[in-house]
C-alpha cells in the first residue's frame, strides 16, 4: 500500500503497551504488538482520541516547529479561534493577536474571519436549496475522514466549501501580495492548530492537491512564549478582523448558529458523531437541515493540542464573543459583507463566492473519495470466505473483549487472524487451552516407558 501521511504518532519510549488507546479508537486503528502500540496508518483519521486517553502521554502529533517560519520572507500566523479561549480574560483578543505576531510573524490573519466567510457561503448554499439533506459541516477534518472510511454514503451530504483555515490562507496571501509586493512563494502562512487533524489536512489534503497553508504549529508549542510576550510587549497593531460570528466557531454549535436556521444538530465528540451519522444512514433525521459535527468533545476548544480545559476555555471565549459584538457590531451577515468588502478593497463580491467567475471560489475543486479500509479482499468471493472464517473464529473466542491480545475486541482479533496479522494463540484464553492440551499430552507421554526400563514388565517376565 502507498504510504499514507497522518499526524498522530507513537512515542515508543513512553508507551507501556497498556490497552487504553486501542479501545477508544473509532476506526480500530491501533494494535499492541511486542508491548508497544502500533497505529495502522491508513485507518487513522487523526481524531486525537488516543492522545487524550493515553495516561503516559505516549501519543503525539507531528507538527511544525516555530523555527520553520524563518524559511519564508513574509510570515503570517493564522490563529484558530480556539486560541482565544486559552488565556485569562484579562488578555483582550487584540493583545493575544499582538503577542502571537511578536513571536516572529509579520502579520496575523484570524481564521475566525475565514469562518465568517464560510458561514456566508453556506448560507447562500442553503438559500439555493440545491443540496442533499442533511447538509454536514466539513469544518472538522477528522469528521470528514471518518466519513471517508466509515460513512461513504454521506460523502454527498458534505458542505463542499473550503475550510475557514484554507479560506483565511488564500485571503491572507492575496492581501499580502497586493499590499507588500511579495510573491506567492515568499509568503509563509502558518496555522496555529488545536489538533492533529488540521495538520494532516494541510500536509495531505483530501479535497485538493495542495493546501494554501504552509505549516501548522501547535497551540501547545506557542502557549508559554505567547503568554510571556503578552506580558512584555506593548505593541498594539490593529489585528482584529473578525466579528463575533467567526469566534463562535471554536465552540460546538457556533457554526450552526450563524446559519440562521433552527432545525440543525450540533454534535461533538467522535463517538457521539458516529451515533448521529448512523441515524442519518438509517434515514432517521429527515427533518434536519444541517449537522455540525466536531470530533472533539467541546469542539475545537477541546482539541488535543490545546492547553486549557475545554469548559473553562468555553467560558473565556464568551467574553471575546461579547467584546467582538460590542466593538465591531458585525453580528449580522449583511454588515459582515460590508466589512469584508472594505477590507479586501472591493476585490471580492461576496455573492459570487460560490461561483468562480471573478477568479476566487471557495468551493472544493474535487470531491473526496471513499477509502474502503475495512474491505477484507478485492475479490468478493474471497472476501466472503474470509468473513465466513472470521465469524467461525470469532464464535470460538471467549467474547470478553479483554484487549490482552492487543486487538480492541475479539472480533477485531478474528479479523486480524484472517488478514494474516495475528494468531489464535494471541488470545490468552486460547493459549491456556493449548497449554493445557499440551500438558495432558505430556503427562500421557510421560507415563509411557520404553520397554527396557519398564520394571513392572521386567519383573513380571522374570517370575
Amino acid at each position: 500500500m502507498e504510504s499514507y501521511f497522518h499526524s498522530v504518532t507513537l512515542d515508543e519510549k513512553k508507551c507501556k503497551g497498556c490497552t487504553n488507546c486501542i479501545k477508544r479508537c473509532p476506526t480500530e486503528a491501533i494494535r499492541v504488538r511486542k508491548s508497544k502500540a502500533r497505529i495502522i496508518n491508513e485507518r487513522c483519521i487523526d481524531c486525537g482520541e488516543c492522545i487524550r486517553v493515553c495516561p503516559y502521554h505516549a501519543k503525539k502529533a507531528i507538527t511544525d516547529s516555530l523555527d520553520m517560519i524563518k524559511s519564508f520572507k513574509y510570515k503570517i500566523a493564522l490563529p484558530a479561534p480556539a486560541l482565544y479561549g486559552q488565556f485569562d480574560t484579562k488578555y483582550a483578543r487584540n493583545k493575544i493577536l499582538n503577542g502571537l505576531k511578536s513571536l516572529g510573524f509579520d502579520d496575523v490573519f484570524e481564521v475566525a474571519r475565514g469562518a465568517e466567510i464560510v458561514t456566508y457561503a453556506t448560507r447562500k448554499l442553503i438559500e439555493k436549496g440545491d443540496y442533499k439533506k442533511p447538509l454536514i459541516s466539513s469544518a472538522c477534518p477528522a469528521v470528514v475522514r471518518l466519513i471517508q472510511v466509515r460513512f461513504p454514503s454521506l460523502i454527498d451530504n458534505l458542505v463542499k466549501i473550503e475550510s475557514p483555515m484554507e479560506v483565511s490562507a488564500i485571503l491572507a496571501k492575496r492581501k499580502t501580495m497586493k499590499l507588500h509586493h511579495v510573491s506567492d512563494d515568499e509568503i509563509g502562512v502558518f496555522f496555529i492548530t488545536p489538533c492533529a487533524a488540521k495538520v494532516t489536512s494541510i500536509k495531505a489534503p483530501y479535497e485538493k492537491d495542495k493546501s494554501a497553508v504552509d505549516g501548522a504549529i501547535s497551540i501547545r508549542d506557542v502557549y508559554l512564549r505567547l503568554l510571556n510576550n503578552m506580558d512584555k510587549s506593548n505593541e498594539s497593531f490593529e489585528l482584529e478582523i473578525s466579528g463575533a460570528e467567526g469566534i463562535k466557531w471554536a465552540s460546538p454549535g457556533g457554526e450552526a448558529l450563524g446559519l440562521g436556521i433552527d432545525n440543525y444538530i450540533a454534535v461533538d465528540g467522535i463517538h457521539n458523531v458516529i451515533k448521529i451519522f448512523e441515524e442519518i444512514e438509517k434515514d432517521r433525521l429527515k427533518d434536519v437541515e444541517f449537522v455540525e459535527a466536531l470530533a472533539c468533545t467541546g469542539g475545537c476548544l477541546g482539541g488535543p493540542l490545546t492547553v486549557e480545559n475545554a469548559y473553562l476555555a468555553k467560558s473565556r471565549l464568551k467574553k471575546h464573543i461579547k467584546d467582538a459584538a460590542k466593538v465591531n457590531d458585525v453580528i449580522k451577515m449583511d454588515s459582515l459583507t460590508i466589512t469584508a468588502q472594505k477590507e479586501m478593497k472591493n476585490e471580492i463580491n461576496m455573492d459570487d463566492l460560490l461561483l468562480s467567475d471573478n477568479g476566487i471560489s471557495f468551493q472544493w475543486k474535487e470531491n473526496i473519495k471513499h477509502r474502503p479500509i475495512m474491505k477484507l479482499d478485492e475479490d468478493i468471493l474471497k472476501a466472503i470466505q474470509k468473513l465466513d472464517a472470521l465469524e467461525k473464529i470469532n464464535n470460538n473466542l471467549p467474547g470478553l473483549d479483554c484487549g490482552a491480545c492487543g486487538a480492541p475486541s475479539c472480533r477485531a482479533l478474528a479479523e486480524d487472524i484472517v488478514r494474516g496479522m495475528a494468531d489464535e494463540t494471541d488470545c490468552i484464553f486460547k493459549l491456556r487451552e493449548r497449554v493445557r492440551q499440551l500438558a495432558l499430552q505430556m503427562s500421557e507421554l510421560e507415563s509411557k516407558m520404553p520397554p527396557v526400563l519398564d520394571k513392572e514388565q521386567a519383573n513380571g517376565d522374570g517370575e
Binding site: D283, M374, L381
Partner: protein, 142 residues
C-alpha cells in the same frame, strides 16, 4: 464448501436500546466485503425497518441473513400478532403504533413502504395470531 455466508440473529423484543443491532452488524459485514456503499445503505435501511417492526409490533423475532456474491437475502420472522390487512399496512403513513412508541421516534408508517422501495425483491407473509415473515432481497451487482 458453498460460497455463501449465513448469519443468524435473535431480535430481542423488549429492548429499544438494542433494536437495530442485527442490521448494524450486517452493515459492518457488507462493508468488510467491500460492497458498494449505496447498496449497503439500501440493505441496512430495509433490514433496519423490518427489525424495528419485529421489535415494536411483534415483541421480537429472528433474522436469517445469507450473503453470496450476487445478492443478500434477509428473512425476518416473528411470532407476533400478525397483520390483518397487508395492503393497508403497506400504505405510506399507515401505522398502528402506540403514542408511546411514536414519542420514541418510531411509527411514522413508512417502514414497510421503505422496505419495498429499497429492496429488489420483497415478500411478506402474515397470519393473524401466528406471526409475520418478511423476505428482503437486494442484488449486489447492478
Amino acid at each position: 464448501m458453498d460460497n455463501s455466508l449465513k448469519l443468524h440473529y435473535e431480535i430481542p423484543g423488549d429492548d429499544f436500546a438494542l433494536a437495530g443491532e442485527a442490521s448494524s452488524n450486517v452493515k459492518k459485514i457488507l462493508t468488510q466485503l467491500g460492497v458498494n456503499p449505496a447498496i449497503i445503505k439500501r440493505v441496512s435501511i430495509a433490514m433496519y425497518e423490518a427489525e424495528i417492526n419485529a421489535v415494536i409490533h411483534a415483541n421480537g423475532g429472528t433474522a436469517e441473513v445469507e450473503i453470496d456474491s450476487n445478492k443478500v437475502t434477509i428473512i425476518i420472522k416473528d411470532e407476533g400478532p400478525g397483520i390483518p390487512d397487508i395492503e393497508l399496512a403497506m400504505q405510506e403513513g399507515y401505522s398502528t403504533a402506540s403514542e408511546a412508541v411514536r414519542e420514541l421516534g418510531f411509527g411514522a408508517g413508512m417502514g414497510l413502504p421503505n422496505i419495498k422501495k429499497y429492496s429488489d425483491n420483497f415478500e411478506i407473509e402474515s397470519i393473524v395470531g401466528k406471526g409475520t415473515t418478511v423476505k428482503i432481497e437486494v442484488w449486489l451487482k447492478p
